[in-house]
């Protein structure tokens, strides 16, 4: 089963590149939704069957694959933004930086003192690479909604790491994290809406300038 999990993690890392390389919001939001669904399937593959596992899987897929993308699409509709116009760093350059950080994630993961049963697996490099992708998206994009997408990818990377740490996650912890995420996205949707009402643009680089 571990080989299948590795395949899914490779897919997750490919989705990172899709997000880094696409200028259309719809594409990025869909990619993050697919990534969420794939991550939702992962616990079911690596752990043994139990009802609480089913609950977690369904919860994750619902939250990350359906509700959060729906919230983001709604926010996107309201503020009438279709695409990221001018990122701080161009798409090809971000793609290459993303590739370099992914390669470094592999190098770094090979140096970490991991438990022997985790040594050959892709979990740690995939998690670091996904977190780095999240950071990259957060820092290089101007639009607040792309930054929310970056935040989501960052959370996905942390989630992959969490898969390793606990053999069976307590339901309450996982549910709490999901709830936090949902509320966070919900609040960000409202904030984005307010920014666009107030400044008639959601370009966050303008928020640093003071004006009457």
């Amino acid at each position: 089963m571990d080989i299948f999990a590795d395949q899914l993690l490779v897919f997750v890392m490919l989705i990172n590149f899709v997000v880094l390389g696409s200028s259309r919001m719809t594409m990025a939001i869909r990619a993050v939704a697919v990534q969420g669904v794939v991550l939702g399937l992962l616990p079911g593959i690596i752990h043994h069957f139990s009802w609480h596992l089913v609950a977690i899987t369904v919860g994750i897929i619902l939250a990350k694959g359906v509700i959060i993308p729906w919230l983001l699409f709604r926010a996107m509709d309201r503020i009438q933004i279709k695409r990221e116009v001018e990122p701080f760093i161009g798409y090809v350059s971000t793609l290459i930086i993303g590739a370099v950080t992914t390669a470094l994630a592999f190098v770094f993961a090979a140096k970490l003192p991991l438990a022997p049963e985790h040594q050959g697996l892709l979990f740690v490099p995939a998690s670091i690479a996904t977190m780095m992708t999240g950071f990259l998206t957060l820092t290089t994009r101007r639009k607040a909604i792309s930054q929310v997408i970056g935040y989501l990818i960052l959370e996905n990377g942390i989630f992959i790491f969490g898969l390793l740490l606990t053999t069976a996650m307590p339901v309450m912890v996982e549910a709490g994290a999901l709830l936090d995420l949902l509320v966070g996205i919900f609040v960000m949707g409202i904030v984005i809406n307010h920014i666009s009402n107030e400044f008639s643009s959601i370009d966050t680089s303008r928020l640093t300038a003071l004006k009457e």
Binding site: V10, F17, G21, V92, L95, I96, A99
Partner: protein, 302 residues
């Protein structure tokens, strides 16, 4: 001996048929009958019989370009194993020669284009060189990955080492690899979505614009060389993507021919359902191809 003979015959005779199959597939998608499967053979025969017009401003490079390109592609075709059979020529390190024979052909095509002094052809040459720079790392990452998998530096053992069981053990890496290679295959052979081989609008095309001044037999060499390049790169792709083996030598040749025709149909389908990419998007796709095959190398080296 028979294998070498079949290899040579396939390399010489099959390439224009692939173009015919691509044309028929596109015609079927458009609801037309389309030109015959053998149309490209007729075209070549017609061009060979025609006269040549050579501009006064050109030098020997202009006439040598098509011949060198065709010869380089032919030698590359002899280095690559087809199906499950070893190539006629094989030595350690021939994978580098294989990659750079294509570069040599491309160098002389662009040089011949620049030799005409036409601004259009210079523009096409610049584009071709740019895209080639981006496609080459993808090809080399793929070659390094394959060489690491098989532990050799020669194409023949590298390709015959691939098997269906390898797909089960390192499927993710191979999947990324063929994804990257398919992009390179389409880009290098000037197919849609990277370049439109049928367009004759100078401002939008890449490869066709470089050969505008060639006519007669020289143009026939160019067309034939392009078809052969598609055949060779397609065979390289097929060897990796579908390493099917039956054990029987003759049956293996049959499987190989069927797979090549299948690949031509697949390319035809891609060309029918996709629009041509904007020129600025092409480098982005090629960088994506590099990342895909670089990523697969990373998975194998790990």
């Amino acid at each position: 001996m028979t294998d070498i003979l079949i290899h040579a015959l396939l390399v010489i005779l099959m390439p224009p048929l692939l173009l015919g199959v691509i044309g028929k597939t596109k015609a079927a998608f458009a609801g037309r009958v389309g030109p015959s499967y053998f149309q490209h053979y007729y075209d070549l025969a017609k061009l060979i019989r025609k006269g040549t017009v050579i501009s006064d401003t050109t030098t020997w490079i202009f006439t040598a370009g098509p011949v060198i390109t065709l010869a380089a592609t032919l030698v590359a075709a002899l280095l690559l194993p087809l199906g499950n059979h070893a190539a006629p020529i094989a030595f350690a390190g021939d994978m580098v020669l294989f990659a750079y024979l294509f570069a040599l052909g491309r160098f002389f095509t662009t040089l011949a284009a620049l030799d005409t002094g036409s601004s259009f052809e210079g523009m096409g040459a610049a584009r071709e060189a740019t895209f080639a720079c981006l496609a080459e790392p993808a090809l080399f990452f793929a070659l390094i990955t394959l060489s690491r998998m098989s532990g050799t530096l020669s194409l023949s053992p590298m390709m015959t080492n691939l098997s269906v069981s390898l797909w089960f053990s390192s499927g993710a890496a191979l999947l990324l690899l063929i994804g990257g290679l398919f992009i390179v295959l389409l880009a290098e052979n000037c197919r849609i979505p990277f370049d439109d081989p049928t367009t004759h609008l100078e401002l939008t095309m890449v490869h066709e614009v470089m050969v505008l001044d060639h006519s007669g037999p020289a143009f026939a060499y160019i067309l034939y060389g392009a078809a052969m390049k598609l055949f060779v790169m397609g065979a390289f792709f097929i060897n990796i993507a579908l390493p099917l083996k039956s054990g029987n030598a003759m049956l293996d040749w049959g499987i190989f021919i069927l797979l090549m025709l299948g690949l031509a149909v697949a390319i035809g389908v891609v060309e029918s359902i996709m629009a041509r990419l904007r020129l600025v998007r092409i480098p982005q796709m090629l960088v994506a191809a590099c990342i895909l095959s670089g990523f697969s190398m990373l998975l194998i080296l790990r």
